[in-house]
C-alpha cells in the first residue's frame, strides 16, 4: 500500500484522538447543570414563544416555573396561550396547585369606523401606526382613536386579529386570541385591552378612549364616549362595574354581569357588546334620541 495513505490515515487518527481527549475534559470542566425539569416543562408548554407570560420565550417561562416550584410558589405565573389546561398539566408535573384564571381575550376600544369617523385628510406616509402616531392625530383627527394601519395585526403571532377593510378597524377573533398582549404593546394609542371573555362569551365594553369633553370629540366621531355618565347611573348596584375618569367611562370586566342596561342608555352608542342588548321599554323615544345625537 502507498505509504502516503498510511501516513494520512495515521495522522488523522492522532488528531481525532487528541481532539476527543480535549473535548472530554472541556465537557467535564464546563458542564452546565440544568435542571432536567426545565426541559420537561418546556415540552408541556405550547412552544409559541409569544412572550405573553412576560418571560423571554417558553424556556424562560419554564425555568421561572421550576424556580417558583422550588420556592413553593408559582402563583401569578400563567401561560396565556396555553390557558388553564396547560397550567394544570404544569402544576401536576411540578406537584403544585395552580389557580384557575378566567379566560381572557383582547378587545378593541375604538369604534371610529370610516363612516362614523370620516377621514378629513389623506395620510401618504409609512403605513405604520407607531410612525403615524408621532406625526399627527389621525386621518379622522381623533387623537385617541385607531389609526387603522395595522401594527396590532403585524404583532399577532396567532392570526387572531385582522383589519376589516370596510370599517378600517382591527377585529379580534376571540377563539384564536391567546391574550398574549403583543397587540396591546404594539398599539401606540393603548386602544387594545385584555378583558375577561365573560360567562357564555358575553362581554360589554366602552369602545372609546377619548378623554376630552363631549363637544370636542363629537366633531371627529359620532360614536365617542362623551362622559355623560348615563351608563354609570344605570349600572345595577350588585355589579357597580362602571367607573368614570377623565370624561371616559370604563367597565370593569371582572365585575360586569353583562346585563346590557348601559348599552341601551348610551346616547352615542359607544358601548359595544358580544350579544344583542335588551330591547329598551320606551322604544320609540330612545331610538329617536339616539338618532338625533347621531
Amino acid at each position: 500500500m502507498n505509504p502516503v495513505i498510511l501516513y494520512s490515515v495515521g495522522a488523522l487518527a492522532l488528531i481525532a484522538a487528541g481532539a476527543a481527549v480535549i473535548l472530554f475534559f472541556v465537557a467535564k470542566k464546563f458542564k452546565v447543570d440544568e435542571d432536567p425539569r426545565i426541559g420537561d416543562v418546556t415540552e408541556i408548554l405550547p412552544g409559541a414563544n409569544c412572550g405573553g407570560c412576560g418571560f423571554p420565550g417558553c424556556s424562560g417561562f419554564a425555568s421561572a416555573l421550576v424556580k417558583g416550584a422550588d420556592n413553593g410558589d408559582i402563583s401569578g405565573l400563567a401561560c396565556p396561550p396555553g390557558g388553564n389546561e396547560t397550567m394544570a398539566a404544569v402544576g401536576e408535573f411540578l406537584g403544585m396547585t395552580v389557580e384557575e384564571s378566567a379566560p381572557t381575550t383582547a378587545v378593541v376600544r375604538c369604534n371610529g369606523t370610516k363612516t362614523k369617523a370620516p377621514s378629513k385628510l389623506t395620510y401618504e406616509g409609512p403605513q405604520k401606526c407607531a410612525i403615524a402616531h408621532t406625526l399627527f392625530s389621525g386621518e379622522n383627527s381623533c387623537p385617541h382613536g385607531c389609526l387603522g394601519l395595522g401594527d396590532c395585526v403585524d404583532a399577532c403571532d396567532f392570526e387572531a386579529i385582522y383589519m376589516d377593510e370596510e370599517t378600517g378597524l382591527p377585529v379580534v377573533i376571540p377563539d384564536k386570541c391567546t391574550s398574549c398582549g403583543a397587540c396591546v404593546k404594539a398599539c401606540p394609542r393603548d386602544i387594545i385591552e385584555i378583558r375577561p371573555r365573560g360567562r357564555k362569551d358575553r362581554r360589554v365594553w366602552v369602545a372609546c378612549m377619548n378623554e376630552e369633553k363631549g363637544p370636542i370629540p363629537m366633531k371627529n366621531c359620532k360614536v365617542t364616549c362623551i362622559g355623560c355618565a348615563k351608563c354609570f347611573d344605570v349600572c345595577p348596584p350588585v355589579a357597580s362595574a362602571i367607573t368614570m375618569a377623565n370624561n371616559l367611562a370604563f367597565i370593569d370586566g371582572d365585575k360586569c354581569i353583562a346585563c346590557g342596561k348601559c348599552i341601551v342608555v348610551c346616547p352615542t352608542t359607544a358601548i359595544l357588546s358580544t350579544f344583542e342588548p335588551p330591547k329598551p321599554k320606551p322604544k320609540p323615544e330612545e331610538k329617536e334620541s339616539a338618532e338625533v345625537t347621531k
Binding site: 406625526l135 399627527f136 387623537p143
Partner: protein
C-alpha cells in the same frame, strides 16, 4: 469670489421665495387668542393665570418649569376666558391660556417707542436673566430656550457667536424681511449677545440668494466692532447649526457634542431681534414675523403676528381663501415643517411660516424598491447611511440603529427629498431615532 459652504452632502431644492419683496405688515388682533403652554422645546410652561384674570400685553401667563423651558407672556390685553386644551400644529390638544381681547393695553415697563437704543447698560449676567425672564426661544423653528445656550457648563468658553441668517428652507422669507427692515436692531441685538456670551467675534451667515440683506447688514456692521457678514453659497440644510459652523468656521462638531464644544454659540437672526427688544425695550417675546405663501395664493405676505393668533387670520388679512386645489398646508417650511389639517392652529414662537401647497406639488409618489443608487448617502449632511437606517428602523433593529449613529440625524429630510424611489426614508429614521433615544434614556436612568 468662491462662496463658503459645507462640504458634506446637502441639496438645493427650488427656492420659491416669492414673498421676499413684500414688507412685513402687522395682523389685526382678533377677539380671542389661544396661547399654548408648550411653544418651546422642553418642559411645557405652567399657567400662572386663572379664568377671569385681567392681563395686559406682556403679563407673565406661563412660568418656565425646569431647566429647559421658557416663560410665556400675554400677547394681548384682556380677560382670561379659560385654561383649556387647544389643538396645535401637532394635531394633539395642548394646554393653553385662552384670552378674550379687550383693547391693547401694555405693561408699563415695556418701552413701545421705535427709537434705536444702542448703549448696552446691563451686565452679562443681567442680560442672560433678562433673556430668560422674557421667554426668548430660538426663532428659527426648533424654539430652543435661548438662555440655556448662554449658561455655559464649568470650564467651557466660546470664542465666536454664529448668527444664522441663512433661511435655507424654501418658500420662507420671514428672516429675510427682518434683516432688511430691522438691520440696526439686529446688530445691537448681536452686540448684546456677544456681551452675554463674552465673545469678541460674531459672524452672520447669509446665503447669496439674499444680496440685499447681505449688502445692508455689511454696510451697517462697519459701525459695530467684531461683527462680520459672510455670504454663503445656497445649499440646504445650511441653517442647521452644525452645517453653519462648518460653513463659516470650518469646525466640525463631534458626534453627540454641542456647538459650545467647538467654541461657538449659534442663534437665529430673529432671536437677535427678539433679544434686542427684550434687553433694550424690556419687551418679552409676544410677536414674531410669519411668512404666508404658496404658489396658488395670488400673493403671499410677511406678517407681524402676535403669538396665539390663529393662522387663518393671516389669510384673512391677505384677503385670500384657501385655494381649492390645496393638497397640503404646512406649518413651518416645506422641508422640515409639519403638515396641518386646518388653519385654526395658533401661531407659536416657533412658527416661521405657513406654506400652502397644491395637490400636484404635495403628492407623494408611490414607493419603489431601493435601487442602491446611494443618492441619500451622498446628500446626507451628517455622513449617515439613510437607506440602511431606514431598513434597520423598519425592522425595529434599534441596537444596530444606535451603532449606525442614528441619533446624529438632524431630520433635515434631504434623503427623502432626493430619493428617486420616493422611499419614506426620514419617516422611518425619525421613528428609529425616537426609539433609540428612548432606550438610551432608560439606560441612563438605570
Amino acid at each position: 469670489m468662491k462662496l463658503k459652504t459645507f462640504k458634506l452632502g446637502g441639496v438645493h431644492p427650488p427656492e420659491n421665495k416669492m414673498t421676499a419683496d413684500i414688507p412685513v405688515v402687522p395682523v389685526d388682533i382678533p377677539k380671542r387668542v389661544s396661547v399654548t403652554m408648550s411653544q418651546h422645546l422642553g418642559v411645557p410652561a405652567v399657567p400662572k393665570v386663572e379664568k377671569g384674570d385681567k392681563v395686559k400685553v406682556g403679563t407673565l401667563i406661563g412660568e418656565a418649569k425646569g431647566f429647559i423651558s421658557a416663560n410665556i407672556h400675554s400677547p394681548v390685553s384682556g380677560t382670561v376666558f379659560k385654561v383649556d386644551g387647544v389643538t396645535d400644529a401637532t394635531g394633539y390638544r395642548k394646554n393653553a391660556v385662552i384670552i378674550n381681547v379687550e383693547g391693547d393695553e401694555w405693561e408699563a415697563k415695556i418701552d413701545k417707542s421705535e427709537t434705536l437704543v444702542k448703549e448696552i447698560k446691563l451686565s452679562p449676567e443681567e442680560i442672560i436673566q433678562r433673556i430668560k425672564d422674557s421667554g426668548i426661544v430660538g426663532m428659527g423653528g426648533a424654539a430652543f430656550p435661548t438662555h440655556v445656550k448662554y449658561m455655559f457648563p464649568d470650564g467651557k468658553t466660546a470664542d465666536t457667536l454664529v448668527i444664522n441668517g441663512v433661511e435655507c428652507e424654501p418658500y420662507l422669507t420671514s428672516d429675510h424681511r427682518v434683516m432688511l427692515e430691522r438691520p440696526d436692531e439686529i446688530l445691537v441685538g448681536i452686540s448684546i449677545m456677544m456681551k452675554a456670551g463674552k465673545v469678541e467675534r460674531a459672524m452672520i451667515g447669509i446665503e447669496s440668494n439674499k444680496p440685499d440683506a447681505i449688502k445692508i447688514l455689511s454696510e451697517k456692521a462697519k459701525d459695530y466692532p467684531g461683527i462680520e457678514v459672510v455670504p454663503l453659497k445656497v445649499q440646504y440644510p445650511q441653517g442647521a447649526e452644525k452645517q453653519l459652523i462648518k460653513s463659516l468656521l470650518n469646525r466640525e462638531i463631534p458626534s453627540g457634542k454641542l456647538p459650545l464644544d467647538v467654541g461657538c454659540i449659534v442663534n437665529n437672526i430673529g432671536t437677535a431681534f427678539a433679544i434686542y427688544e427684550a434687553v433694550q425695550k424690556n419687551k418679552p417675546l409676544i410677536e414674531r414675523v410669519v411668512t404666508l405663501t404658496g404658489k396658488d395664493l395670488k400673493k403671499g405676505g410677511n406678517f407681524l403676528v402676535r403669538i396665539g393668533i390663529p393662522a387663518k387670520n393671516l389669510l384673512e388679512k391677505l384677503g385670500a381663501e384657501i385655494p381649492e386645489n390645496t393638497g397640503k398646508m404646512i406649518s413651518g417650511g416645506p422641508m422640515m415643517g409639519k403638515a396641518v389639517n386646518h388653519l385654526d392652529i395658533p401661531v407659536t414662537k416657533g412658527t416661521s411660516g405657513i406654506v400652502i401647497m397644491s395637490e400636484d406639488e404635495s403628492k407623494r409618489d408611490s414607493i419603489q424598491n431601493c435601487i442602491r443608487c446611494s443618492k441619500c448617502v451622498s446628500v446626507c449632511p451628517m455622513g449617515l447611511e439613510p437607506y440602511l437606517l431606514e431598513k434597520l428602523a423598519e425592522k425595529d433593529m434599534f441596537e444596530e440603529c444606535e451603532k449606525e449613529d442614528i441619533v446624529d440625524c438632524i431630520e433635515c429630510g434631504s434623503c427623502s427629498y432626493t430619493c428617486p424611489s420616493s422611499r419614506h426614508l426620514l419617516d422611518h429614521i425619525r421613528y428609529g431615532k425616537q426609539n433609540v433615544m428612548r432606550i438610551m434614556r432608560e439606560r441612563r436612568q438605570q
